[in-house]
Subunit: 108 residues, 2 copies
């Protein structure tokens, strides 16, 4: 149950995989359906799906003769959490801006 941050970040590093995630956010899709959205072979897409599984960003299940993939939003949690550490720096800038504005327009 470890965070598994690396596999997730690794999975997100490829544009094709990010696009796949966006597609799967709409609905569950078979390998052929996912493949139809790209100009690459089914085998290539299958590899991307496997990387996404390793990153815990999607789930795959076999139904009959097709392989259905579904988005696993929770897998993004570790990533978002890691990034949230840097929120403080944005906040600091907002605070600085707020202070600047207040100082700029002294009310009394």
């Amino acid at each position: 149950m470890s965070p598994a941050l690396q596999p997730a970040f690794r999975a997100l590093a490829d544009p094709t995989r990010r696009e796949i995630l966006t597609s799967l956010s709409q609905r569950e899709m078979s390998l052929n359906e996912v493949t139809a959205q790209f100009s690459m072979t089914r085998a290539a897409v299958r590899k991307h799906l496997e990387v996404l599984v390793e990153g815990n960003l999607i789930h795959i299940r076999r139904q009959g003769r097709e392989t259905l993939s579904t988005l696993n939003p929770d897998g993004l949690r570790p990533v978002v959490d890691w990034l949230s550490f840097f929120d403080q720096f944005w906040d600091e800038k907002l605070d600085a801006l707020k202070t600047a504005i207040e100082t700029e327009t002294p009310d009394e």
Copy 2:
């Protein structure tokens, strides 16, 4: 002024680079200082820094004989924005939970 999402995600995909970002969040550091935190050569670290610059996640400036790197928190913005699209799925789950709770304890 484009988002440049890919270079940022690419830069974040490596654990060493993520660690560098964390270090730089503390203070500006020279190449030697950054290198001291890892068990790899200065050249290797320098390459990582270059990738971080391409991802717009840090800034580098030459001061005298040293090269100082500083964190650029704003560079994370495109990444966070992209990820925020998926927040809705978490919210949906929260809503489902809330609904479940409300249903579970009918008040009247």
